[in-house]
Symmetry: C2
DNA sequence: TCCAAATCGGAACCTCGACTCCGTTTACGA
DNA sequence: TCGTAAACGGAGTCGAGGTTCCGATTTGGA
């Protein structure tokens, strides 16, 4: 684990003409191209078949040999981790941007809706949100968690999100709307609506709803 | 698949002295005992380690040879299926019983709460609710689905459950509170509360909540 | 153009876990 | 007590998929 990161920065390089910001030492042009291509194909394959997709499949669809995949990513986990990290950073940035948005409640719900839409059909990525304490991914995850918690706290201060839930509760509860491949737009929206209504419920709204079914509960 | 069922009814039996209702042909006493024991241990092992638990592990913990496990259950899937079927029938009965309960809303929520409590730490069983179109399990599943849908419809007629959700929505949304191993009593309750509030939300309650964050959505 | 280092490709290797086979042991009716 | 069919145990088979290795190929500077 974390080996992938090493691979991206290793090799003393012939002339160390790094230049910009992209992670490429004195790598040969074809190697850089291949790495990127493998990453893209792997992303697609994992999204469709989940983490259990065989490496051979990825190599074949990327038009390279298995060896090439392994030279760029020491283990399957590293490859998956690189992709996961990418997703995580993407969503973390999104979350951070939403912190600028004025409407605190809408910000949280927008983020959840986006995640639901994007994670749709990205098998296992959501499940991987838990676990994965490895290097790069860990860092990206921390960034996301920090931003998300800020969003949640802010929405709670604004009284647009019930005060008795934690950021983790929100993520966990949303998971059910994330995965689940074959769910169309309307189904997803319907479920998000239920979830949001539950998350929005304020003391008043709750009491109102409760009184309607008082004798209930247990 | 469905092979397990066959195994339970196979072998012409020496004297066919079935008698009561238990599925045992003219089986030898030790065989009956072993089958039951394997089933119990397997249940425990699968609950802890999920479907990926190796058969060897089950055999070892049951104190029998691998061959014994396979004689009773032709495939791993059949073994898992037998257990799943058992769970499914159990919960189906529970659901059916709740149909007698006067309070329609409480009935649904009680069932969900029970499922959340019981499925706690039973890895993969919930996930297996989807899929699994094989024989015996299929039948048990249908029974559960029928009862559950009746419960949902009834609660909606009683206006204790929002009218715009399907039975599947309810199950899917609940899944997030089901799995997730290390969640203590209070965490589970908290999440159920959010979920129930969302499911309970009536047109009025929803509108009320919405107006509070109108400019939101997107 | 030429050459060495960097890459590549993919056969071969290994591990793991489901499932099979068969010699040995056990239950139980005669 | 005996004999035999039923059960048992677990070594061995088989396939899948991750990872390694190394000869062939390609890139890029001299």
């Amino acid at each position: 684990m974390s080996g992938m990161a090493k691979a991206a920065a290793a090799s003393p390089a012939r002339s160390a003409k790094s230049g910009d910001g992209a992670p490429r030492g004195g790598r040969r042009a074809d190697a850089v191209r291949n790495r990127q291509h493998v990453l893209e194909v792997a992303q697609k394959v994992f999204a469709e078949a989940g983490l259990s997709a065989p490496i051979d499949e990825i190599a074949k669809r990327a038009g390279v040999g298995i060896g090439t995949v392994y030279r760029h990513f020491p283990t399957k986990e590293a490859l998956f981790g690189a992709i996961l990290q990418h997703h995580m950073e993407h969503i973390a940035s999104h979350a951070e941007a939403l912190l600028q948005k004025a409407d605190a409640g809408a910000a949280v719900f927008d983020l959840l809706r986006t995640m639901a839409r994007e994670s749709h059909q990205k098998k296992d990525f959501i499940h991987a949100l838990g676990g994965y304490p490895s290097g790069e991914v860990k860092t990206a995850k921390k960034r996301f968690v920090a931003a998300f918690e800020a969003l949640v706290k802010r929405a709670q201060r604004a009284r647009e999100l019930r005060p008795d839930v934690t950021a983790e509760d929100v993520i966990m509860l949303s998971k059910s709307v994330f995965g689940s491949a074959e769910q169309d737009e309307s189904t997803r929206e319907r479920r998000l609506r239920v979830l949001f209504d539950g998350l929005r419920a304020t003391a008043g709204a709750i009491k109102t709803a409760r009184s309607r079914t008082k004798k209930a509960s247990g």
